[in-house]
Amino acid sequence: MTYDETTLAQLAEDAAAIIARYPVKRSALLPMLHLVQSVDGYVSPDGIEFCAEQLDLTAAEVSAVATFYTQYKRRPNGEYQVGVCTNTLCAVMGGDRIWDELSEHVGVGHDETTEDGQITLERLECNAACDYAPVMMVNWEFFDNQTPESAKQVVDDLRSGKDVAPTRGPAKVCSFTQVSRVLAGFEDGRADEDQGAGAPTLAGLEAAKEQGWKGAAK
């Protein structure tokens, strides 16, 4: 392994904390791979070895898991993972067009990273925000009701170093490594940050209000 002593010590400490959450230590593998991404910006071969040694697995068993899940990246990821949903509903509502324009604008294709290392583009599958279609995710924060223009603006702002807030989520989009650390199960203190619930989330509530809460009163 090529981790320096400090990094390795921190990794080992974090891994121990993750392992402690589970009755059987192998369960720690998925969060530990997120942890590796929070250090290396992707699942590095060193990270695979680290996980294998911590969990008494072979490297093949770890890579078997790392290559099964799409959130694990095999090459250094951009600072911002920008995903455009092109599953049916978002695609039809305009996601395909957003993807086309954004990809042309940024100059990279699916699972490719800009030369400045800022942006990795990805065609996403459904991200469970269909009522906000077309949807874009930046480092797994919601960017709802996108248009080609709004999507390009987000990416431009990110590349120019501006803080960018998602439509629903924290005050600003964090880096890929920071978000990976959250996904490893370490809180970052941003849970209370909020941009409002969004109209579709509250649409039924509004309609019920208009009905005078007849149903709920029963």
Binding site: F68, N87, V92, R97, C126, A133, G185
Partner: protein
Amino acid sequence: MTDLVPVLSATWGSEQSWSLDTYTDAGGYAPLKKALGMEPGDLIQAVKDSGLRGRGGAGFPTGMKWGFLPPDDGGPRYLVVNADESEPGTCKDIPTMMSAPHALIEGVIITSFAIGCNHAFIYLRGEVVHVYRRLLQAVREAYEAGHLGKDIHGSGFDLDVTVHAGAGAYICGEETALLDSLEGRRGQPRLKPPFPAVAGLYARPTVVNNVESVASVPAIVDKGVEWFTAMGTERSKGMGLFSLSGHVTRPGQYEAPLGITLRELLELAGGIREGHELKFWTPGGSSTPIFTQDHLDTPLDYESVGAAGSMLGTRALQLFDDTTCVVRAVTRWTEFYKHESCGKCTPCREGTYWLTQILKRIEAGRGTEADIQQLLDTCDSIAGRSFCALGDGATSSIISSVTLFREEYEAHVEQGGCPFDHAASALFDYTDTPATEEAHA
């Protein structure tokens, strides 16, 4: 007209709706105290009596699932919450957990108490980091408030909750694949039997329940079985979140009694977008056979939707208007299934690979009449042959769309291309240029 019944969604509009204080102020965690005073067996009976059926898609009676656990042998037993919401069109659990995570946590505690579980897990899909933040915080708050940990509120009941983030795999929504994934493996479905109730997580008795199912438990405990059974239809009791998306004026979450119709929901949601008509829709996500205008008055309960040839699924109503090319829609779904096939069994792995290629050719105008039959034949080699339901789901939209819209497939073949203007389907204006839709990797 069926009235909406905001129960889970009732507090979503409140200030800091996700916080423990907001939830508690709205009466939250009172049901927990009530439940802790009950016999676990009585809780299970109440949920059985309520008729609550799994809200994750399959609709299996929740109380019965709990009842399948073998008698206590002194070893651990687990509750695992399926929060891997990934079925295309499904978007109800994410807002639930984002806006009111404590409803889920309270449901987890009551359910765990009922089934004798001392360590529960919430398996959340990894691609929703803010939801994860909210869940982690809610669990922490619940520990701090004494709702979790040792001897909860002096009841002698101990419970730990671990919130676990997945890493991107639709198949993990299948409960045994989810368990393998939670054990740190590839999320591939397990053989059944043994069922999770007998040998689930770490080969111990395990209940796997959907977020909405578990979150519904506190309300049942609080308001009573009769309140719950008063809603819904004879065999589909209670309320559920109906997620409207697509070409609808006001998409979103509508919490209503099961059995409400799309016509009623559309009325509440302002109808199909102006100037257009409903063409086809999914009643319960992309794995359910598509419906058309003919099904506007089909009661959205398990039995009626089933009788009409589809499945209630997750009540993910994806609505597509007359601008939408059904071949395009189905092709994209099929690409999704190919992308998400775990690879374990032949029919799903190879079948989705084949179907995708045929559909893409047809959509691009390079198909033949024989291809349309081949689609059906290949679907026949997948449906009912695959290891888990993903394979079946992959064929649903194809078989139903060929049945309902065969002429549209033929038009692609005859015209040598797609007869639709894709730009017309989008929610913003642009001029359609030749598609550069590349394959999903």
